[in-house]
């Protein structure tokens, strides 16, 4: 009978490894935005084409406000096609997507919109006041606003089809604004 207990030695590493594996299930950056559930701060900006873009004008629709910048690689480049695709798919169902560019040069912003073929309204937050109101920490960040004009979800990082569709579908299923 050889000493079998010695094979327990490698097992000593298992709890530590399990704890680290557990770390993947939780995110240290998972800190909820205090704005969720509150009314979305109002803003009026001008689109790159020169038209006014007023959040209040879209009350009663589900609004997706996306903060981006042309210098934000790769996340903004990844999510722009997602936003465009879903904007085209949902625009007839009472959904508005709008981009708010922050800390950008006009030419760079226009090139971004042109290169990626974006057709939803895109404005620039030249004074930086809107991003401050929304507590934007970095780009991209996306806020989903329900038909009552309340922020319902803040998404940090590139938006995926899954995040966009599950959130928007849920908000669309709710009762429309009185």
């Amino acid at each position: 009978m050889k000493r079998l207990w010695r094979w327990l030695i490698p097992l000593a590493a298992v709890p530590v490894l399990a704890l680290l594996a557990y770390g993947f299930r939780v995110s240290p950056r998972d800190i909820p935005s205090p704005l969720v559930g509150r009314p979305a701060p109002a803003f009026t900006l001008a689109t790159l084409g020169g038209a006014p873009l007023d959040l209040a004008a879209y009350r009663g629709k589900v609004v997706v406000v996306n903060f981006w910048a042309s210098w934000c690689y790769p996340a903004c480049y990844e999510e722009a096609p997602v936003l465009e695709r879903n904007w085209r798919g949902y625009r007839d169902r009472g959904v508005v997507v709008m981009g708010v560019g922050i800390q950008d040069k006009r030419e760079a912003a226009e090139k971004f919109v042109g290169d990626l073929g974006l057709t939803f309204p895109v404005a620039q937050d030249l004074k930086g006041t809107v991003s401050v109101d929304y507590g934007v920490y970095g780009v991209p960040e996306t806020f989903f606003v329900d038909r009552q004009g309340r922020i319902r979800l803040k998404h940090v990082g590139a938006v995926t089809d899954e995040v966009f569709q599950t959130t928007v579908d849920r908000l669309l299923a709710e009762a429309p604004a009185q």
Binding site: I9, P10, L17, P28, R29, W71, Q103
Partner: protein, 647 residues
């Protein structure tokens, strides 16, 4: 184009590393030297390819090749030339290339140095090195590809993290990674020893210098990191017990323990199991550190972006630990020690205690680092333990370690006689007590500060006692004073290199103690022309100026400093980078042996009429850097080849 070339070279390097690892292993098992030689060629190929990848990426940075995503993310047209080079390893993907390149370099050195000397162990060590290298190349291929394309090609890049625009950033990661990767070699030889069953002293002797080299670089990396933190981050400190700092500190602690316990095995044939375990632990902790910084599991200011890489690293860590510990279990019966502990009052037990304390310190740091995770797993709440926990637990441990630094090198092996104790420690203890009394007379009322001071004086005195005695012995055989002293340092360079390292630690300990006990700070808002006072210094706010730099906008405050006589103007600033939401503080300071003046600009009125300023007078901090220089010089001395002891 270069993206494809880089990716292709990475793939070939991966294939070669995998082949080389297997060839070396099979060659070692079957004794077919041709296979081992073929593995050597593969290793050279890997080195050439990884070097080319590195050069290619550097070239892409220098030429603003934004078709490569990594370049676009970490540089922009405004990034100065110098920082375009450091940007190469400024983020995840590049850091993995640098890491792989160093591993490849160490593998080449291993081949050159040990190909002839260690026939049994060498092929297995080579196989282990190549296996680990293959893992990092796998990461480069699948999880963090540096050569990923960027479509469409942007007109300008995002820019480097502004905090990394500092000279320290060229040396800090390089030194740290050389330290981290350096511990791979002792680990590889430990694996070779376990696989072949030759767990005697051969592997220890072979890896002794390697361990000191790795330890030297790791120490250097930690020190430069502290300096960077002090003069760039602007919070006035040099060490925050941040998870990533801890990640680098833990292998340093266990590596230090290993450097000491090796001596007991060499001398007394004891602690074989312990030494192997320490090497496995140290290497495991370097992997853990990499995992921690790159997985996003624990939030930290230094953390790289997250992704699938964390899971890959965890898998590899699991593989390494389970294999290594499995081998230990398999060789269990071979670990019987030949020596035994004879007495509690002996050098062996002093070293043992040193090891226990170092490992305990590593454990508490580990515990504190993963505590947020642990608490979330057990209680569902995220709770962090901060600097107070680490300081409270570690200060007594470190103080005891400093004390042992005085005891260990002088006390007799096996069993110390009363005579031996008297001969070595009477004067040092007396001097330590005198030091405490002097501190008290000078008005030091902090118990901890007095104790630290007394302990450091005691240890310094033991070093002096040893050195004087050894020099005298040489004078007696007719040498003159300076050749005698130089000869001692060079002939017994390992012992005296160790003493110099100890002196460095003592100086650092005094700096740490002084900065904690006596630093003062204040924060105030000044109108132009107004003056603030702190610790005898007067700071007058003279106004703000704005400067447009190549890649950022800078607002500079001017503060005239005097302490009775004028000392000059300090210019702390705030830097505004378009890609950053928050401005970056630019600290200005005036270093001194007794104290540093340290100014951080806070908020300011746009018209320059007033500004908020954080003023600090940090005491004795410079001694940390001075101690660091002494420590690294000592380590260099210890790395020099040992001369044969004649006479």
């Amino acid at each position: 184009m270069s993206a494809d070339l880089g990716y292709g070279m990475t793939l070939v390097a991966l294939a070669l590393a995998v082949y080389g690892g297997i060839a070396a292993g099979v060659g070692a098992r079957s004794g077919r030297l041709a296979l081992v030689e073929s593995a050597q060629h593969a290793a050279v190929g890997v080195f050439v390819l990884v070097t080319s990848c590195f050069a290619l990426l550097t070239y892409a940075f220098l030429t603003f090749d934004f078709s490569i995503r990594y370049v676009a993310t970490n540089t922009n047209l405004g990034t100065p030339f110098y920082y375009r080079i450091t940007a190469v390893w400024g983020a995840l993907e590049g850091s993995i290339i640098l890491w792989s390149w160093m591993l490849a370099l160490y593998t080449i050195i291993l081949i050159v140095r040990h190909r002839e000397g260690a026939r049994e162990l060498y092929p297995w060590a080579l196989a282990t090195m190549l296996g680990i290298l293959a893992f990092f190349l796998l990461v480069m291929t699948v999880a963090a590809p540096p050569f990923q394309r960027q479509v469409p090609v942007p007109p300008d890049g995002r820019g480097l993290n502004p905090l990394l625009e500092d000279t320290g950033m060229i040396t800090h990661p390089v030194a740290l990674y050389l330290g981290f990767t350096g511990f791979t070699v002792p680990f590889a030889f430990a694996m070779a020893a376990l696989i072949t069953g030759r767990i005697g002293d051969t592997w220890l002797v072979l890896t002794r210098r390697w361990t000191i080299v790795a330890w030297y670089f790791l120490s250097l990396g930690l020190l430069i990191g502290g300096w960077w933190s002090y003069h760039v981050l602007g919070w006035g400190g040099y060490w925050a017990w941040d998870p990533v700092e801890n990640a680098a500190f833990m292998p340093w602690l266990t590596g230090t323990a290993f450097l000491h316990s090796v001596m007991i095995q060499e001398r007394r044939r004891m602690l074989r199991l312990w030494n192997i375990s320490l090497v496995i632990l140290t290497f495991g902790l370097t992997l853990f550190g990499t995992f921690l910084t790159r997985s996003g599991v624990i939030a930290s200011v230094h953390a790289f972006t997250q992704g699938s890489i964390g899971i890959l690293f965890l898998g590899f860590l699991a593989l390494v630990l389970l294999t290594a510990l499995g081998l230990v279990a398999w060789r269990w019966d071979a670990f019987r020690s030949e020596g035994e502990l004879d007495s509690v009052v002996s050098r062996e037990s002093a070293f043992l205690l040193n090891n226990v304390l170092l490992v305990a310190a590593a454990f508490t740091v580990f515990f504190g680092t993963v505590f947020p995770l642990l608490s979330e797993a057990v209680r569902g709440e995220k709770v962090s333990v901060g600097a107070p926990f680490f300081n409270q637990v570690n200060v007594p441990l470190f103080l005891s370690l400093v004390f042992l630094m005085g005891v260990g090198p002088l006390i007799a092996w096996r069993r110390a006689s009363v005579d031996n104790l008297k001969r070595n420690f009477l004067w040092p203890i007396a001097l330590g007590i005198v030091a405490a009394a002097v501190a008290f007379a000078l008005g030091v009322r902090s118990f901890l500060a007095s104790l630290t001071f007394a302990t450091t004086v005691f240890v310094a005195a033991t070093i002096a006692v040893d050195f004087i005695r050894a020099t005298r012995a040489r004078l007696r055989v007719g040498e003159s004073l300076f050749p005698a002293m130089g000869g001692l340092l060079l002939r017994h360079n390992r012992r005296y290199g160790g003493f110099v390292v100890h002196l460095g630690i003592l100086i650092i300990a005094l700096g740490v103690m002084g900065s904690h006990a006596w630093s003062v700070q204040t924060e105030t808002t000044l109108h132009r022309g107004e003056t603030a006072e702190l610790a005898g210094y007067r700071f007058r706010f003279d106004g703000l100026t704005a400067v447009e730099e190549s890649n950022h906008f800078k607002v500079i405050g001017a503060f005239t400093v005097s302490n009775g006589r004028p000392l000059g103007v300090l210019r702390p600033a705030k830097k505004f980078y378009p890609q950053e939401q928050a401005p970056i503080a630019y600290v200005d300071y005036r270093l001194g042996l007794r104290e540093d003046l340290y100014l951080v600009l806070g908020d300011f009125a746009r018209d320059g009429s007033q500004a908020t300023i954080k003023l600090q007078v940090n005491r004795l901090v410079s001694w940390i850097w001075i101690g660091g220089v002494v420590l690294t010089l000592g380590a260099l001395l210890a790395i020099l080849p040992e001369r044969h002891k004649s006479a």
